[in-house]
């Protein structure tokens, strides 16, 4: 069990990309919050969270994803979750978040 999270920042055509590698849980969720806060967003951009390498996501991680969504909307931008692994997708579905958050690359 390595409760660690690495976040790699980059860009694509639609806006900034944060690629998450590791577990998104109580211990690491603040990292995501900080990374999102530190990412400059302009209106119309899309913040992409690449979740392809997220092994585990708990309620704190979900809260951080929702907070990222809120922040993007507040900046008149949008949030996309890309390449969500089946396990995380299942949780998002249970929570009904698949109707609220934009998913891409499934």
């Amino acid at each position: 069990m390595t409760p660690e999270l690495t976040i790699n920042a980059g860009h694509n055509a639609t806006g900034p990309v944060l690629a998450l590698v590791g577990d998104l849980d109580h211990a690491t969720a603040p990292q995501l919050r900080t990374a999102v806060t530190d990412t400059a967003l302009t209106p119309g951009q899309i913040l992409t969270l690449d979740l392809s390498a997220v092994a585990f996501c708990d309620s704190s991680g979900i809260t951080a994803l929702i907070a990222a969504h809120r922040r993007a909307l507040a900046q008149e931008a949008d949030l996309v979750l890309a390449d969500v692994p089946a396990r995380v997708l299942r949780i998002l579905r249970i929570l009904g978040l698949d109707q609220v958050l934009r998913l891409a690359g499934q």
Binding site: H26, S59, S60, I62, I94, G96, Q99
Partner: protein, 434 residues
């Protein structure tokens, strides 16, 4: 050559003078009387009467103390030369021991010199007895122990600071343990306040529940309840607040009482969840959003069983263990988590619990547990487990799941709440009726 002659002469002269010096030294040694040795020995000598009265003292000791012989002999007692603490020690330990044993050695005492300064000494005393064995006087030798005392004091200081450090560490440890015990007690009490002390007796319904706290140090965020509504109906809910600890407990308390109040006002489960959403949204509007997932529902007794209406808000689906030995989920599609989204959606589902049917509600501590084999448990695994278990009454279902949870061991790292509601099997009802 001259040099050689001079050299030999000198050597002869030198030879003579060395011999003379040796002779002089030797005779000086011979002339060293016992009296001179007594007076100028490298230690203090003191002879006292049995009552301590000083009878004889050597020059060395007089020099150390700065007294004249006349000031001490016949006028002072040994104890008079000691510091006050030394006097007490002398009277309570030294003198009694000497009287009982006739000999005493290596006792550390401090002398008080004429100028008030202290001189640490090591004292050895012997009682001189006459030919008839009767004690006559006390002979005492005193060694300068300044260096030794300094060293001892250093040892004592080190010992004391070590003892102090140890006792501080022990005290801190005890305080931490006490504090931890107190905290655990508070946690246990608060946790109880978030759960019903016991489930009510519902006619025609078997109910059972189980709560597994992930930690005795932290309050979990799982909750459930079963309570009476107007018109012979019953309300129930089970849910999970995100996070742990006091913040989560505070939210749990709000949710639990809001749900009960909402049900009393309007027994529509969707409306109840919407009310909770509004309460959470209003309370946690700021930086630290709180949400929960929950299933809330009503039970309506019917001739053929109990009709269930439930609403799901982002919560794992209820699981039905049918009397015919099958198991099925009761999904509430499209339901979203409660309290955090701008436009939440809660959907309903209906079913009838006939005789022998049991409905299980659970939190994701169960379905997210790490199994001993490695991967996490899942809804699919739970379904398989339930299908194997069915048919089973409420208590049997909870028992079986409790066993399952225990089999996860340390893999069960989240709180887990279980609530089973079942209609007794037909033969049980007949038995009861008969």
């Amino acid at each position: 050559m001259c040099g050689t002659a001079d050299g030999e002469h000198e050597r002869e002269t030198g030879h003579d003078s060395v011999e003379e010096a040796e002779r002089a030294q030797f005779s000086a040694l011979l002339e060293d009387s016992a009296e001179d040795l007594y007076e100028h020995a490298p230690c203090g000598y003191l002879s006292t009467m049995l009552d301590g009265q000083i009878a004889k003292v050597n020059t060395t000791l007089l020099d150390w103390l700065g007294y004249t012989r006349d000031q001490l002999v016949g006028r002072r007692r040994f104890a008079d030369l000691l510091t006050v603490g030394g006097k007490l020690y002398h009277e309570t330990h030294f003198a009694p021991l000497l009287a009982m044993q006739g000999h005493l050695s290596g006792i550390a005492l401090e002398l008080r010199a004429a100028d008030g300064s202290r001189l640490p000494v090591l004292v050895t005393s012997t009682v001189k007895t006459g030919s008839d064995g009767q004690p006559l006087l006390i002979r005492t030798t005193l060694f300068d122990a300044r260096d030794r005392r300094a060293y001892e004091q250093e040892l004592l200081r080190a010992r004391k600071s070590a003892e102090q450090a140890q006792s501080q560490a022990e005290t801190a440890h005890q305080e931490a343990e006490t504090e931890r015990a107190r905290l655990q007690q508070v946690v246990a009490i608060l946790q109880k306040s978030l759960l019903p002390p016991q489930l009510p007796q519902v006619p025609g319904l078997d109910a059972a529940s189980y709560y597994h706290p992930a930690s005795v140090d932290e309050i979990g965020g799982d909750f459930y309840d079963l309570f009476a509504l107007a018109g012979g109906r019953w309300g129930f809910f089970l849910g999970d607040v995100c996070g742990k600890g006091p913040e989560a407990a505070s939210a749990t308390s709000l949710i639990r009482y809001t749900l009960r109040a909402a049900f009393l006002a309007d027994s529509d489960p969707v409306q109840a969840l919407a009310t909770v959403h509004a309460a959470l949204h209003e309370r946690y509007a700021g930086e630290d959003p709180r949400y929960c997932t929950a299933i809330a529902g009503t039970l309506t007794p019917r001739p053929d069983g109990i009709a269930v209406t439930l609403a799901g808000g982002g919560h794992p689906s209820a699981l039905l263990l049918r009397a015919d030995g099958t198991a099925e989920f009761l999904p509430t599609p499209g339901g979203t988590l409660v309290g955090i989204l701008p436009r939440p959606h809660f959907s309903t589902a209906h079913t009838l619990l006939g005789p022998g049917d049991t409905m299980l509600l659970y939190t994701d501590g169960l379905t997210e547990a790490r199994t001993q084999a490695g991967p996490r448990y899942s809804e699919e695994d739970l379904h398989t487990f339930a299908a194997a278990l069915a048919p089973a009454g409420a208590a049997a279902t909870i028992n079986a799941l409790q066993g399952l949870l225990e089999s996860f061991g340390a893999g069960l790292d989240d709180d887990t709440a279980l609530l089973a509601l079942g209609v007794p099997a037909a033969n049980t009802i007949e038995g009861a009726a008969g």
